[in-house]
Every structure is written in C-alpha cells, then in structure tokens.
Subunit: 341 residues, 3 copies
C-alpha cells in the first residue's frame, strides 16, 4: 500500500486529484481497479483511458484527464516500471538449500544461496550471495555465478562458464554447450576443439530455451545489461556488447560481434564473423551475410539486409513490378508499330 | 484384435472382401502386414496401394481395389485415425506417484494422478484426475492443471499458469516464463513488470521445447483444441483462438491475436499487436509486420506477407526481371538510334 | 606434453625450427603462449601470425614463418584437430552410477556406463559400454543406446528410440516426441497416430535444445556422422543421410529426405516431402517448398530457393529495379512526345 503522494515523489511527477489515495498493485488501464496504478502509453485510445477504473494513472506531461487521480510525468511507462518496484511485494525470502540438492563438497556457496530440489552443483563451482538455483538446475564443474542471480528450472550451465551478478536465466537455457565447427576431410566431419569459455556479465537476462555455446578456442561473451529473448541461438565466439536487445528466435553465428545498445528483431539471422556496430537496429527476419559490417547507428532490413530507406524504396518498386512490366510491354508494341508501319 | 466388420461400423464405411478378418495394429501401406490396417491417401501411387500386404485398407468411396479387403469411406485418413484409436492398446495404467516426486503438502492432487520420479509440485498447485506428470516435470506455485493431461519429461510450468483438460505438453516445454519487454532510459534497459498469467484451454497440444510467456499485465491464452509444434515462441499477451495449427519454429510477438482455425506454416514470424483473423492461412517463413491485420479467410505469403495470389504474381514477375531489364535496354538503344540518326 | 617432433609425425608435416620443443595445450594464434600449439587459417592476417607467441604453429605447405617453430602441412586446421586430440588430456574417467540415478531393474547397462544424479532409465532400455548419461537425463522404455555416447544434462529420449555408438546429444535435446500431424474434421483437429521410431546412427552429434520427432507410422532417421546444431527441428519421418551438416534453427518438415554430405545453413526451412540430394548446399534462411527436389551437388539460396547463380543475378537485378523504373519512365515520356508532338 502506497500513497499517490509518495508515488509522485518517487517518479518525479505532478499530481492532479487525490494525493492521499492509496494503491496496492499495478494493472493495465482495462483491468485496473481503484486499488491499482495504471499508465497511459502513446498507443492507448482516449476512450480506454477515460473509462479506466484505475485508482491512479500515470499520464504524459501536458495532457489532462479530469475526473481521475493522475500523476503527470515525462515518461509514463518508465515511471510505471519504477513505481511497480515500490508497490509490488518484494520477492519471497529464499528457500535455502533443499535437502535433495546435490552440492559437491568442493563447491563454494556464499551465504544466502538458495538451491532447489534435485539441482546439481559440481565441484569447483562457486555461487554468489543471494543467488537462487531453481529445481533441477545443473551447474557444471568450475562454473562461477555472481550475486543475486536467478536460474529457473532445468537451466544447464556447462563446466567453466562465468556469470556476473543479477543474471537471470529462464527455464531450459543452456550455457556453454559445444560450438558447431567441423572440417570435412577423409570422407567425414572432424570436430574442431571446443575448449573456450562463456562470460555473461552483470544484469543480463536470457529467455527460455535459449542456447549459448562456449568459445571454440576463445570466449563467448554477453555484455552487461543485454537482454536476450526465448529460443535465441548464440554461437561460439560471439561477442555481444552492453545493453543490447535480441528478440526471440534470432540466431547469431560464430565469431560475430554485436555492439552496445543494438536492437535485433525476432528471427533475424546473422552470419559468421559479421560485425554489428553499436546502436544498430536490425529488423525482424533480416539476414546479414557472413563477414558483413553494419555501421554504427544504421537501420537494416531484409535478406540480405539493406539500409531501411533503401529496403523500403526497393520494396515499393517491387510492388510496382507488374505495372512496370505492363508499361514495358506497351512500349515494345508501340515501338514495333513505329518501326514496321 | 478387431474384426473388419466392426471397423466398418465404427468408421461408417462399406466393406469389400472378408468382413471376418481381424487386424491387430495399424501401419503404412508399405510396412503393413496382414495383421495391420492401412489407408490410402490422395498422394499414394496406385502401385504402392496394389502391392500392400495390409490385412485391410481404408479407401476413398468410389474407388476399387480388387483382391484386397477394403473399407470404402468418405475420408480414409480420418477413418484411419478413428480406427487406430479402437485398435491400439489403451495407454498403460498410470504409474502412480513415484516416491521421489516432491509434492507440496499444500498442493491438491485429484485421485488417479501420476507423478514421475524427481518431479516437483509446489504449494497451491492443483492437478486434475488422471493427469500424468513425467520425470523431472516442474509445476510452480498456484498452477492449475485439469484432467487427463500429459506433461512429458522436464516440462516447466511457472507459477500461476492454468491448463485445462487433456492438455499435452511435450518434453522441455516452458509455460509462463517472463515476457520480453524493456524500456531504454538512463543508459540501460528497465524491465517492464511481467505479472500476468497464462491460460491454456482444453485439448491443446504443444511440441517439444516450445516456449509460452506469461502476460505482462494481462494474460496469454491458447484456445481449446489448438495445436502447436516444436520450438515455437508465443510471447506475452498473445491470444490464440480455437483449433488453430501453428507449425514448428514460428514466432508470435507480444500482444498479437490469432483467430480460430488459423493455420500458420513453419518459421513464420508475426510482429507485435498484429491480428490474424479466423481461418487465415499463413505460409511458412512468412513475415507479418507489427500491427498488421490479416482478414478472415485470407491466405498470405512472403515477407512482408501479401495475399498469396499477389505474392505468386509478383514472384513470377521477379523471375522475369532479367528479361524485363533486357527489353528495356533494347528499347533504350532503339530510342537512341531514332533520336540521333 | 608432447614434442614438436612427435606432432609432425602425427600430422605428416615438415618442421622448421626446434623439433625438441614441447607443447602442453592448444590455443588460437592470439591467445597462445609458448606452451601452446596454434594454426594458421586462410583468414589470418599475416601480422597476427607473426606476432603470435605460440610455441609451435601449423602452417600451410609452401609458406614460411621465420623466427617461429612451425610444422608445414597440407591442411593446417585438420592437422590442428588431430594434434589437439593427442595433446589434450583424455576425458576424466567416468563417474559410475550415481546413487540417485533411477535405473529400472529391467534395463540393461553394459559395463562402464556412467549415469549422473537424478537421471532416469526406464524398463527395457539398454545402454552400451562407456556411455555417459549426465544429470537429469531421461531414457524412456525400450530405448537402445550404443557405446561411448554422451548425453548431456536434461536430454529426453522418448520410448523406443535407437541411438548408435559415439552419439553426442547436448543439453535439452528431445528425441522421439510426437510428430505434428492433424486432420481437421467435424470442427476440430484429429491427431494422426504417432507410433513410429527414431534411429540415430553412429557418430551423430546434436546441439542443445534441438528436437527430433518420431515417425508417425514409419521412422525418422539421422545417418552416421551427420552433425546437427542447436535449436534445429527434425520432423516426423525425415531421413537424413551421412556426414551432413545442419546449422542452427533450421527446420525440416515431415517426410523430407536429405542426402549425404549435404550442408544446410542456419534458419533454413524445408517443406514437407522435399528431397535434398547428396552434396547439396542450402544457404542460410533459404526456404524450400514442399515436394521440391534439389538435385545432387547444387547450391540453392533464397525463398523460394533457387540455384545460387540465378539468385545472385536476380538479386543484382532487384537492386537495379529503381534505375530500371526510371529508365522506363523516361522512355514513356519520350515516346509520348514523339507521338503527340
């Protein structure tokens, strides 16, 4: 329970309405009750906003919503995120170490670590303070995990991988499996050594069933604050910078570098040894060829990927292709007439 | 063991041949023995049909197959499915609760529930009659599961998700992981609250390693009778209607709505807040842009997706592009000749 | 620890430099210390090679690297793979059967099998000599696994699947889940029987979270020596030949046949009942239509896939489309002028 007055202070906003009102939870405009905080995003139709029963609504500065208790802020969605942290109950206290968790006597667990039933922690592993390993998690030998991480059920971390602090791995994530490299010779595939490591920095979150391979000889790295969606493939020796966003089912091939603040749409595919510089935006389903460099700040789309403006123009021309063909046919006929009258 | 006479009654078909013959199992035309029932599909070459050793063959009404015991029906494949249910042995009796299954004393299990080794059922969960949880399944707090469901090994259902009756989840499926929503501000990604639920209605089947995220504030829903293949991504707040079919590796972005009887091919990608109305057919690898509406009953193809007829025409024009360019070159030359003689 | 002299003999190469030098491990040119063996690939810039601190470098025949101890061989990368096998320590001795592993009294385990904690082996299963099942692996009834296989954590093998020798399945792989086949009738989806098997031959390696469905009536097969990357979908009744390579997130639909020595790039999609003959190369993100035949040795690209040369030409024409449209516009104007002067 928190007063509107306190929320306004927290998010740096200006109240219109009842500053003493209290909210207990957060919700969308549609489902909110008088106990809830909601927010208005640019997409919300006015009608939905006006009819909301929310106890308090975060609205953009310069807008008005008579008859509702509101807090006007520069960025309502961001304010909502911050307010939700204050309103929602803290996580339940960690459950401690379940008696069925198998923890090697040669592993090092900091105080306050929680390990769920049937989880396995092998020798040489170290787990930082306040980290939670859920049911059935597997932590291989010599793995290092920082503080206040959450590993959901059935995550598997192969030997030697290193995770920073506040890392979140959703169910079924695999970290450190072998990279995919073979040399065809003498009629069969010879496997290249996959001996390298994986380093996942602080505040990375990785979605369900995503796979991150270890480096072959070098290291696979995911920079601090980057967020990766479900079912993404990160191959051996990929380097991802900081605060980048990679949507579901994207695949990043071996040796590719991704900069900081990059945004990659869903199902994009990036070839080997490409370089996606910082602040690039890659469209969903785009395909980037091996070795390609995408310059800082550019927006690319399509397969093979092109600058978005060019893609859009081409796409318009493509749609006009039947008409173009008709015109050419007409021209050819006239021409013919002209020549053989 | 069942007689041809009984099968014919069951599927509403007409026998030619030996009505007293008995079959014990089902098989394809090629591998069938005299103990097996087989069926003819439109794709089967006549030669394969004639040489089949099957004890009984389901054939389309109006066709003939002298020398074989056959049952003529309107829809042989459907009849085969129904007959197979009668012929094949019922599932083995449920194994009961394995002594290593960890079931919270605050969970509610109906009679006849089977829980495999090393499965975990947390407090507040409820499991309906005849439901089977295989080895290593994880059921979070407050999860509700209906009757006669099957959850294969290593399925993880996060807290609060709700499953109807006869739901089948194949190995490695993750239900209820956090949606993927961030706001970039102050130099880092702020995670949007992911508090919503997941509702999976009756008779839904979901393939291996598919992921279904919870709603952010609202709910993610999958309607009764819909079937989802392996490695599919269903994002937060997606709503899928009834009896729809979604093939492998398709990704559906946040807030998108899919109607009833929709069919989506493999590796299709659907952007955020799109609406795919009922009975739409989306081609494999198609890409549907965010916010796009695909009208009821239409067939779309390509990226960005277009009506199939248009796609086909464009594609033919695309193939003709080199010839078109040649013609234009020729026209330009003639023109030039005409102008500067 | 191994002498350069011995390595040269092993890989059939010619030494320049100190044949008595010893190496202990392998590394990339950049990270190598004087204790390491490295190799030069075609991609390595000369500067990187010259400045390497590696104790010994495998170089291509006919090249020179004064000041370094080198071994000249026909294929340095292949030689490196072979040398690494000799240099790197053998795998640790198998751990034996963990006391928490649940092995049916009706399963058959050869001597020297290792079964990790919380793994489950059901009745009728047989596991060959030297095979290792990691933590949490699930082996269903009647599954057959050959010798010296490695199944990483949380692999699930459904009942009846058969694996050869030296098969490697990475974490989260699912073998033998039901194929995806439904018939829409009477307003709902009827599931086709999924009774078939899966056969995985010797020396197959399959990446994390990949899914392989059982045959519906027939069998799904993966031929000896084929290598499959992470998050790949192999549908029911697919047949893959020998020594083929399938990169991450590719999907192969039901009933499709893939030959020997085929290479398929990442995120390719192959429709039902297609046939990809031996030594075909399928580009990343390519889409192959159902029923399509790709002839032996061809290279295909794009969606729908075309021969690479044709794709490249088309793609160039596509890029020229705005210019072509401009030309046609110009021609149309001139024409008009000529006609109505």
């Amino acid at each position: 329970m928190i007063k509107v007055r306190e929320l306004a202070r927290l998010v740096g906003g200006k109240i219109e309405g009842d500053a003493e009102r209290e909210v207990r939870s957060v919700a969308s405009l549609e489902s909110a009750t008088p106990d809830d905080l909601a927010f208005v995003s640019a997409k919300n139709a006015l009608e939905r906003v006006v009819s909301s029963r929310a106890g308090c609504i975060l609205i953009p500065e310069g807008t008005f919503l008579p008859g509702h208790t509101v807090i006007a802020v520069a960025h309502p969605k961001l304010a909502f995120i911050k307010a939700a942290k204050a309103i929602l109950p803290a996580l339940p206290p960690l459950a401690g170490i379940h008696p069925t968790a198998l923890i090697s006597s040669e592993a090092r667990l900091a105080p306050g670590v929680s390990v769920g039933p049937y989880a396995v922690v092998e020798r040489g592993a170290s787990i930082g303070e306040g980290t939670e390993l859920a049911a059935g998690v597997f932590i291989g030998e010599e793995v290092q995990i920082g503080e206040r991480c959450v590993l959901y059920p059935h995550v598997a971390v192969y030997r030697g991988a290193r995770l920073g602090n506040h890392v979140v791995l959703h169910a079924g994530v695999v970290i450190g499996s072998d990279g995919f490299g073979y040399v065809l010779a003498e009629g069969r595939q010879h496997k290249f050594p996959q001996l390298g490591g994986v380093i996942i920095e602080d505040d990375v979150e990785i979605g369900s069933n995503t796979t991150v391979d270890r480096g072959s000889l070098g290291v696979t790295t995911i920079g601090a604050g980057s967020k990766i969606d479900n079912l993404v493939q990160i191959a051996h020796n990929v380097h991802i910078g900081r605060h980048s966003i990679i949507a579901a089912q994207t695949g990043i091939s071996g040796g590719t570098e991704i900069g900081d603040y990059v945004v990659i749409g869903g199902q994009a595919g990036i070839g080997e040894h490409a370089r996606i510089e910082s602040r690039v935006l890659v469209g969903g389903q785009a395909g980037i060829l091996p070795g390609k460099v995408i310059r800082e700040g550019s927006i690319v789309w399509g397969t093979p990927a092109r600058p978005f403006a060019e893609f859009r123009k081409l796409y318009a021309h493509l749609s006009g292709l039947p008409e173009l063909a008709r015109q050419v046919k007409k021209l050819s006929k006239k021409k013919s007439k002209g020549q053989y009258p």
